[in-house]
């Protein structure tokens, strides 16, 4: 059975992430798997600048560095264990019965990749431990994760409340169509009020596609408010979000290559950086 893979790292965001996981688990009726990645920091050497190597320099250095790593890893393991116990208890108190937890060594993106086959949804905070309190900074792993992940990702800002409405930005491209289809097929957003928003762009037949998208959503039983607006994509979406009190955004991610993004920038990335509400990113 696939699970809600929920990444926790003990940062201020953790409780919001846990709350989001509980919400997703109830909606989808899937178990939660709390994942704590033990990312290894660049260890420092002996910080010995003598540049001298004597007898058995290599084995002595190896021994010393192993000892340092060992101590650090033991502490990290212990802290991680306590963190996981904590969030599991929290989720249990919120009424989720089926909960697992797991610790893995390595980058969080790799750990998520290893769990790919048992994943239904990935829940992760939009920035991690090192970014506490700096709002605009997007966690360093997030972009890599979004480009790699084979499953939907729910990005959580530093607080979470159950959303009652969501906005889906539809630009007529293939990624947007796929995202739309997933919203229709999935169960997470059923019952929420849907705002379907298209910003006029140079896509052919955007308006026709937009209308058909609206129909598809309504057929599935969504209550849809559809808006077709003009202007700068990013700014218009943000303005719409603000004036309609949107509580969650769904978007298809990264239609373009990294190279293009480097030169022209990416709307996805701008949204990720500036959004203060939960985001669901679909690939």
């Amino acid at each position: 059975m696939t699970k809600i893979v929920t990444c926790v790292d003990g940062s201020a965001i953790t409780s919001a992430v846990t709350a989001a996981a509980v919400w997703a688990s109830t909606k989808l009726n899937k178990p939660i798997l709390f994942l704590h990645s033990l990312e290894k920091e660049q260890q420092h050497g002996a910080d010995d600048y003598t540049g001298a190597i004597g007898l058995g320099a290599r084995s002595a250095l190896l021994e010393e560095m192993t000892k340092l790593d060992e101590q650090r890893a033991k502490v990290a393991l212990q802290l991680g264990r306590e963190l996981l116990d904590d969030v599991v208890r929290h989720a249990q108190d919120s009424g989720v019965a089926d909960i697992e937890s797991m610790q893995r060594h390595g980058e969080v993106v790799d750990s998520i990749g290893d769990l790919e086959e048992q994943t239904r949804l990935i829940v992760i905070g939009r920035n991690g431990k090192s970014h506490d309190n700096s709002f605009n900074a997007l966690g360093s792993n997030i972009e890599t994760l979004l480009r790699k992940a084979a499953h939907p990702v729910l990005l959580i800002p530093d607080n979470f409340k159950q959303p009652s409405s969501f906005m889906i930005a539809y630009d007529g491209r293939e990624t947007a169509d796929k995202a739309l289809q997933r919203v229709i097929d999935g169960g997470l957003l059923h019952g929420l009020h849907c705002h379907l928003v298209s910003v006029k762009n140079n896509e052919k037949n955007l308006h026709d596609k937009f209308e058909s998208a609206q129909r598809r959503l309504q057929e599935k039983g969504f209550q849809v408010t559809a808006s077709y607006i003009e202007g700068d994509i990013f700014e218009s979406l943000m303005a719409y979000k603000k004036s309609n009190n949107i509580e969650l955004i769904v978007m298809g991610a990264f239609a373009h290559s990294k190279l293009r993004q480097f030169f022209v920038g990416s709307n996805t990335l701008k949204m990720l950086e500036r959004s203060d509400i939960p985001l669901i990113v679909l690939r």
Binding site: Q42, G45, T50, G51, I53, G54, G56, L61
Partner: protein
């Protein structure tokens, strides 16, 4: 990809810069000393170290590893320089680079797995001995001043790190060099200096194509040297990469490292430098000083050339005695002392492999030949051991007058003769059954020795039948990659 680059270059800026500087200071005397070993001007080694370090920082497969002009490589070029001169060395360096890139594309880095631990230890020990021996000419037929200076230098290098605070901040080899230079200048000692050994760089290296005729004769001269250089360079580089992998608990791309070494050597050859490779000692110093990323290697190269170009007058004044002291430290640091203390614990065959490697290298001054001999010996010892895993049991059925031989184990060229000897051809029986269900026939020598056994029995008038022939000979077929597939292995070794 960008993210990866950022991590490999800029994730540890402070540590990398500091470590890079420490390494650069340690590299300068080594590069000069190795140039002298090779018989070229110090600037050839210094230019090489600069080019190789800077290029490998970008294209290497192991971040944080230091590559530059090395002793192992310098030792291989001595006769080439003596007989044909610098230009041919530069051409050979270019060819070395090309060969290494080809090796990289052919993924020959994976052949490293045939180089056993004993061979690696032998290689390292031989290298240490050769570096030490290369210092001896500087210590023969000289005045007592030189001995005193060298002894003082070693004293500073080894005792300074015990001085609290200062000892941990200042590189002791640097203190040794600076103080001995000052003493030598102040006292006006008439002893040999680096300046006496040849030209030092006064400019940045410039691009120059080696002035050698582009014909087959040139190729004939340089190819043997280039091959040796390419092999030794990759060997030492991959060994060092493994050491750095172990120390930092990270992984590296070995084939990328092969290609990177090749590119770095081509760069060195084009800018008037000699061939080089990764350095075990310097890489350990780098990690020990906190260097982890590509930036550390880059800074080491850059800082080295800046120091040398701007301080060339001063560098020329360094007494050779100071250099000798530093090189003795390098040699001691390179030698694997545990290999001596472990001699009693390790199996005899491993010790023979290690010691043979050392002896061959010291005798030929060629690390490539030593490694070759070591690998050969290790392989022979291994075949011998595996060959012993063969036994033939026999029993006689009184009623039916049938003699059954049951062969168990590995039959191949090393055990084929013993296999034949296990049968009793003198026994007069009518029927012989040879049960091969639990045997493996690995090569055609094994198969032909089985034929021999069958023919011999037939000549004695016995009827021979073979049991389990198909299972036993399945291994004759060369099936590469079988070991990765549990199902195939099960088929091959099924029922054993």
């Amino acid at each position: 990809m960008l993210e990866n680059m950022k991590r490999e270059w800029f994730s540890n800026i402070r540590g990398d810069v500091l470590a890079g500087i420490v390494v650069a200071l340690a590299l300068i005397p080594e590069a000069i000393a190795f140039s002298i070993i090779a018989g070229v001007d110090p600037k050839v080694g210094l230019y090489a170290s600069f080019c190789i370090a800077v290029i490998i920082a970008f294209v290497g497969g192991r971040p944080g590893m230091i590559s530059a002009a090395t002793g192992a490589m310098a030792l291989l070029m001595v006769t080439l320089v003596k007989e044909h001169g610098l230009e041919y060395l530069l051409a050979a360096t270019l060819l070395t680079g090309v060969l290494q890139i080809i090796f990289g594309f052919l993924k020959l880095g994976s052949l490293m797995r045939f180089v056993s631990r004993s061979v690696v230890t032998g290689f390292v020990n031989a290298l240490a001995i050769l570096i030490f021996m290369a210092q001896l000419p500087e210590l023969t037929n000289v005045t007592w001043h030189v001995y005193a200076m060298t002894a003082a230098g070693l004293g500073i290098i080894y005792l300074l790190p015990y001085v609290p605070t200062i000892g941990k901040i200042v590189p002791s080899p640097l203190v040794c060099i600076v103080s001995l230079t000052i003493v030598s200048i102040v006292l006006g000692l008439d002893i040999r200096t680096v300046g006496d050994m040849g030209e030092l760089p006064d400019t940045l290296p410039i691009f120059l194509w080696p002035e050698v005729p582009l014909n087959l004769t040139t190729l004939e001269i340089i190819l043997p040297y280039s091959l040796g250089l390419a092999v030794v360079g990759l060997l030492e580089s991959l060994m060092t990469a493994t050491i750095v992998d172990d120390l930092t608990d990270t992984s590296s791309d070995k084939n990328k490292e092969c290609k990177g070494q090749g590119m770095a050597n081509i760069g060195a050859g084009l800018f008037g430098g000699m061939a080089g490779c990764a350095m075990i000692g310097q890489s350990i110093i780098n990690v020990k000083s906190g260097g982890r990323g590509r930036l550390s290697t880059f800074i080491a190269g850059l800082f080295l050339i800046i120091m040398v170009v701007f301080l060339d007058d001063w560098v020329g004044q360094i007494p050779m005695a100071a250099l000798v002291a530093v090189m003795i430290m390098v040699s001691i640091g390179t030698f694997s002392w545990s290999s001596i203390t472990d001699l009693g614990k390790h199996p005899k065959s491993s010790n023979i492999v290690m010691i043979s490697t050392v002896i061959v290298v010291v005798a030929t001054h060629n690390l490539a030949i030593g490694v070759f001999v070591g690998v050969l010996l290790a392989t022979l010892f291994f075949s011998n051991k595996i060959g012993r895993y063969m036994a033939v049991r026999s029993y006689f059925n009184e009623q039916e007058k049938v003699r059954t031989y049951e062969v168990v184990g590995q039959v191949f060229f090393a055990s084929a003769e013993q296999f034949v000897n296990e049968f009793d051809f003198k026994e007069a029986v009518e029927t012989v059954v040879i049960d091969l269900t639990h045997a493996h026939f690995w090569d055609i020598t094994a198969v032909s020795s089985l034929d021999k056994v069958v023919i011999k029995f037939r000549r004695e008038g016995a009827t021979v039948s073979l049991v389990g022939m198909n299972d036993a000979t399945a291994t004759v077929v060369d099936k590469f990659g079988v070991h990765n597939d549990p199902k195939e292995v099960e088929k091959l070794f099924g029922g054993h």
